[in-house]
């Protein structure tokens, strides 16, 4: 489906940080992404909602080069990144808290956070950011010496986001930060996401919890079986009848 005029209007006033053009991805013979196009304005929170298996996580993994884009173009701040390997994408200033959290189970919380700052050599600033992350998630500070594998699900989620922040990214990709968490914790996590965004980090959020995601986002994309079927401002999507019926359970 083509972009709505609103999307174009947004792009006109804000420079885009990430741009996907007609991206196709395959898992072996399975055509997982069938021509994804979207644009994320700098400084925004954008969210990608959709059902299980629609290709949301695949989109994030493709942006990061974990899955190779077979066709199409991905640009970060104008530079093409679709031919880069994950470790090269990380250098560009993108970081990800991926699906399933992917905590290093046999490393402590502190070490996990240190690994997030692997590419940085400015020790003083890293220490400062560590304090900032501990400020965002005080629970992590109590668990600093504990092994990642022994943390609870919510703590692991905080750690995954914290670790991604330690890279001091310009763009943060979050894959289902609310998955498997208690409602209270979900709220807390989303508050924190807003706070992170206020610090100037652009956020691309993938969520099944559409209501929560749309309520904090500027832009929203709706995905179905490997295609983006709807693009609009988050506020408009919240009012969209189709979206209400399919994803908001109203």
């Amino acid at each position: 489906m083509k972009q709505t005029p609103l999307g174009n209007w947004r792009r006109a006033i804000k420079p885009s940080i990430l741009e996907l053009k007609n991206v196709h991805t395959y898992y072996g013979n399975i055509h997982a992404l069938k021509g994804i196009s979207c644009t994320i304005p700098s400084g925004d929170i954008a969210c990608l909602i959709g059902a299980n298996g629609a290709g949301k996580s695949t989109t994030l993994l493709t942006i990061f080069g974990v899955q190779r884009a077979a066709r199409g173009e991905i640009r970060f701040k104008g530079r093409p990144i679709h031919r880069l390997r994950p470790e090269q994408v990380a250098v560009q200033g993108i970081s990800q808290a991926p699906e399933g959290r992917q905590i290093f189970a046999r490393m402590t919380t502190l070490e996990n956070l240190e690994m997030g700052a692997y590419l940085r050599n400015d020790k003083a600033e890293v220490a400062g950011d560590m304090e900032w992350v501990f400020g965002l998630f005080p629970r992590l500070k109590d668990r600093a010496r504990q092994l990642g594998g022994t943390l609870s699900g919510g703590e692991q989620q905080m750690l995954a986001i914290g670790r991604a922040l330690m890279a001091r990214p310009e763009l943060l990709l979050l894959d289902e930060p609310s998955l498997g968490l208690a409602p209270k914790l979900v709220e807390k996590i989303f508050e924190t996401i807003l706070e992170i965004n206020k610090n100037g980090v652009t956020i691309f959020l993938v969520e099944q919890n559409a209501h929560m995601a749309l309520s904090i986002s500027n832009t929203g994309y709706v995905m179905e079986t490997g295609r983006i079927v709807l693009t609009d401002s988050a506020a408009a999507l919240l009012k969209n009848e189709k979206v209400k019926k399919a994803y908001l359970g109203e």
């Binding site: 013979n29 399975i30 055509h31 179905e224 079986t225 490997g226």
Partner: protein
């Protein structure tokens, strides 16, 4: 075994560069038997190294070159046309021609060459037996030579102590081999490939160490001596009428034809196994054990059967080997022997009977004929095995069944299928 990797040009170049680097690295190590540099020795070793690498490169370069793609590689290629021409002549004819050549061979060759032929055939039987375990069922066995030892020692001991004949010992040896195969197979059933490799290697060594240390029974490293050659009985007319006369298979020619018979029977047996339900089930286990199990293939039982069948063939070869030499000792059954047999299977193309035969001839006969090369045999074949896994994992003569795999179906077709499935999905 799935396709190793599709190597791009850049990766291939890197591979060659690193291989040459490895060659340079081994140069000082191989050149210093003492404190002085022995150029001749070093450069012969290095020559073999570069030779093997060059063959691997040649294979890759030829297959990637545009001329090859146009003439031999493509769908309407020369290769396929030639293959089709060959296929017009039934396999049976080819087999007959080959059999005739092998049967006439000892009449034209001298004793030494017949002896080489016998060794070669023994290894082909071993290779075919291991082919069941590695090639068909996909279970790695690095202690295969232990079963060969079991066959040899079963015959030797029974013959020396009880005077039992070869024919009586053969089924006992087969049974013992199969039982041992199950004993070794059973604890390893749950293990993954690399653990399996180490454990079978350990088992192989245990058998050898037991043979080596159990002096009172096996005479330890001195070995056993003086077993009778196999003999056959045939009806003969003598003065007292019809009688059974014995003919001892003492001459090299007789032994040659005997092992040839065993080899032919092995080929027939392995072929029939391969094409049977059991063979298909083995291949299913090799390709995807979980899927096979879920489809109702009794994987535990079939894996044990693979070990037992493989062990049985090795046991036959071992009994023949001991009978032929009238001598056996534990040093015939070192780990390197297992490696040679495995090399035969892998280089030939796991699961492929003609491949195993060709590789058997290549690995055993060729170095025997060119004696100077013999020392370099395993050096070259070890490297060849590694290079082959990287560049041509399907072996010299790939098993035909693999060609019928999914990879040959056009990917587009699957893509369309997939889309139509999804269309159905989205409608529901």
């Amino acid at each position: 075994m799935k396709q190793g990797s599709e190597m791009g040009n850049g990766e291939f170049k890197k591979f060659i560069i690193y291989s040459l680097f490895l060659g340079v690295l081994i140069l000082p190590m191989v050149g210093f038997p003492g404190t002085h540099f022995e150029a001749k020795r070093a450069f012969i070793v290095w020559g073999v190294f570069v030779g093997v690498l060059a063959l691997g490169m040649l294979n890759q370069v030829v297959r990637q070159s545009s001329i090859y793609q146009k003439t031999l590689g493509g769908p309407q290629s020369f290769n396929r046309r030639v293959t089709k021409q060959f296929q017009k002549i039934p396999v049976r004819h080819w087999t007959l021609i080959l059999l005739a050549a092998v049967a006439v061979y000892p009449l034209l060759a001298n004793n030494y060459m017949v002896d080489v032929g016998i060794t070669c055939l023994i290894y082909i039987v071993l290779g075919l037996g291991l082919n069941i375990v590695v090639g068909l069922a996909g279970l790695l066995d690095l202690g295969y030579i232990a079963f060969y030892a079991v066959g040899a020692y079963t015959y030797s001991l029974l013959n020396l102590h009880f005077g039992m004949s070869f024919w009586l010992c053969l089924p006992i040896g087969i049974l013992l081999g199969a039982i041992l195969g199950c004993v070794i197979g059973y604890p390893t059933l749950r293990m993954r490939g690399d653990y399996l490799a180490i454990v079978t290697m350990g088992f192989g060594e245990i058998i050898r160490l037991v043979l080596n240390n159990w002096d009172s029974l096996t005479k330890g490293p001195n070995g056993l001596l003086g077993m009778a050659k196999p003999s056959i009985m045939y009806p003969a007319f003598s003065n007292s009428g019809l009688e059974w006369a014995t003919y001892s298979l003492k001459s090299l020619h007789a032994l040659y034809y005997f092992i040839l018979l065993i080899a032919v029977l092995t080929v027939i047996g392995v072929r029939r196994l391969d094409q049977s339900r059991i063979g298909r089930a083995w291949v299913a286990i090799r390709e995807d054990e979980v899927a096979a199990e879920l489809s109702g293939v009794p994987t535990t039982w079939l894996k044990l059967l693979a070990y037992a069948m493989g062990a049985a063939f090795a046991s036959v070869a071992g009994a023949f080997f001991a009978a032929k030499l009238s001598y056996t000792n534990p040093n015939f059954f070192i780990f390197m022997e297992s490696c040679i047999v495995l090399c035969i299977v892998v280089l030939g193309g796991a699961g492929s009977i003609p491949g195993v035969i060709l590789a058997g001839v290549l690995l055993i006969a060729v170095p025997e004929v060119f004696r100077e090369l013999q020392d370099y045999r395993m050096f070259a074949f070890g490297l060849a095995m590694a290079v082959m896994m990287v560049l041509r994992p399907e072996g010299l003569i790939p098993a035909t069944r693999r060609k019928l795999g999914l990879s040959d179906i056009e990917t587009d077709t699957i893509g369309e299928l997939e889309e139509s499935y999804q269309a159905v999905d989205s409608r529901t």
